[in-house]
Amino acid sequence: MTVALIDYGAGNLTSVRKALTHLGAPFVTPAGPHELAGAAGVIVPGVGNFEATAALAGGWHAAIREAVDRGRPLLGICLGLQWLFEGSDEAPDVPGLGVIAGRCTLIENDAANEATAYRGGIFKVPHVGWNSLERRRDDSWALDGVPDGAQVYFTHSYAAPVTADCVGATTYGLSFASVVEQGHVVGAQFHPEKSGDVGLRVLANFLRRVTRTSSTAAPAMSGS
């Protein structure tokens, strides 16, 4: 069960590689979309501007979509979560994968909620640091074993809306989707590879899903 870690030039993958190695997961960084056929699961990482995901348009987009249609688990991390949506205001002309409905928008303060500006604190964008995951669905496989309120590490300026696919939400100004899940597609706005034991648990849950999927005879089980 080899996981394909997509390197499309959006940030460095060292810490994701390190976490996968730590968890004993075999992975490859495919040279191109044509190498995705044999992958049992796909991870789309990425940091920075949504514009960077333009590199996924075309070949990667089609190949990843095909892998998802064949039932292969897909994990989007940070920018990779945002890419699962239809798009982002950060680069309106760049389409996302579109498997999750909605668009990403700039993080905004909730003017009505002064709690975010506790004791003279300043509301800043980007949202950088450790914040809590509020679990929204008990049946989430990606968050299996992750306690409600567990803290994880974020660094981002745009965020995804809280919709029916949101299984974990985080409040910074307004509430946003920090974990989305639809069938075997999952996304984490935080960095599981930099979020201590909680993050490793989320990665391990994904890898377990990959193992289970690849060991079943009939892998085609798209949708939720």
């Binding site: 390190k18 730590h22 709690a115 506790y118 950088v128 450790w130 914040n131 306690p147």
Partner: protein
């Protein structure tokens, strides 16, 4: 709510930690990887490796230190000290750093911040500012705080953020090593001027100093070195102190009184 980050600084020279190595309960006190492991267990939020003496020939040793520390933690890891160009930054990131911090080189060549932000994203680029009070302003010093410049800390912080820096590591030269507390005025002045996080550094002596810098100083994170060496559990004790005073911090489940007893 977003937590205030507690960051441990490992001042490293020739692969060994050079500050706070008198901690008695720790056999390999000077080993950065052993310290990182302990801090991770105690719930540190982030680790910074600073090697101000890293010369050309010593950068390979630094890369080995980064690798060894990175193996111990799944937390953000920043590396600073003597990073002069993209090649140095590449080597640190390749070795396992998530962020690099630039000080003297950024003042000399501000476009380096932009180049690194384009390459790795702003979240990977920290501008380190060493400032000293000079009348009613804060003057920037470079070369490990040895050489004064004409730059003002608040102005430079704004420019560095505009050029692509993702965070500011702000050290008060007046307070560094004194244990008299962080310079809250300096931190508040810079924090109010920029929209990126400010990491306060220099002067941590008591837990209340952290309370002060997170409230009066408006800092988003605070960094210290020797205070964490004094006693085992210092990170835990500090976080409990902050939490009890209404400051949001990340507590490991295993340390939460009455909380989930699973190992943290």
């Amino acid at each position: 709510m977003l937590s205030k980050r507690i960051i441990a600084c490992l001042d490293v020279r020739d692969g060994m930690v050079v500050k706070g190595i008198n901690f008695e309960g720790l056999r390999s006190a000077g080993d950065p990887a052993a310290l990182a492991r302990r801090y991770n267990r105690e719930g540190i939020d982030e680790v910074v490796i600073l090697d101000v003496t890293a010369t050309l020939e010593k950068r390979k040793a630094l890369a080995r230190t980064i690798q060894a520390v990175a193996q111990e933690i799944f937390l953000p890891l920043c590396v600073g000290g003597g990073i002069k160009d993209e090649e140095h930054a590449d080597a640190a990131i390749e070795a396992g750093a998530d962020k690099v911090s630039l000080n003297t080189a950024a003042i000399a060549r501000p476009e380096l911040l932009t180049a690194l932000a384009r390459r790795y994203g702003s979240q990977a680029v920290i501008v380190a500012i060493d400032a000293k009070r000079d009348g009613d302003r804060f003057r920037i010093y470079v070369r490990s705080g040895q050489r004064p410049t004409e730059r003002d800390a608040v102005e430079w912080a704004r420019e560095a953020a505009d050029r692509g820096a993702g965070e500011i590591l702000l050290t008060s030269i007046d307070r560094d090593g004194t244990k008299r507390g962080f310079d809250c005025e300096l931190n508040a002045a810079v924090s109010e001027a920029v929209s990126i996080p400010v990491i306060a550094s220099g002067g941590a002596g008591t837990f209340d100093h952290f309370v002060d810098v997170f409230t009066e100083g408006k800092a988003d994170a605070a960094l210290a070195a020797s205070i964490f060496h004094y006693a085992e559990h210092a990170v835990v004790d500090l976080k409990e102190h902050l939490r009890d005073r209404g400051i949001p911090v990340r507590m490991l489940a295993g340390w939460e009184p009455g909380g989930d007893a699973s190992p943290g």
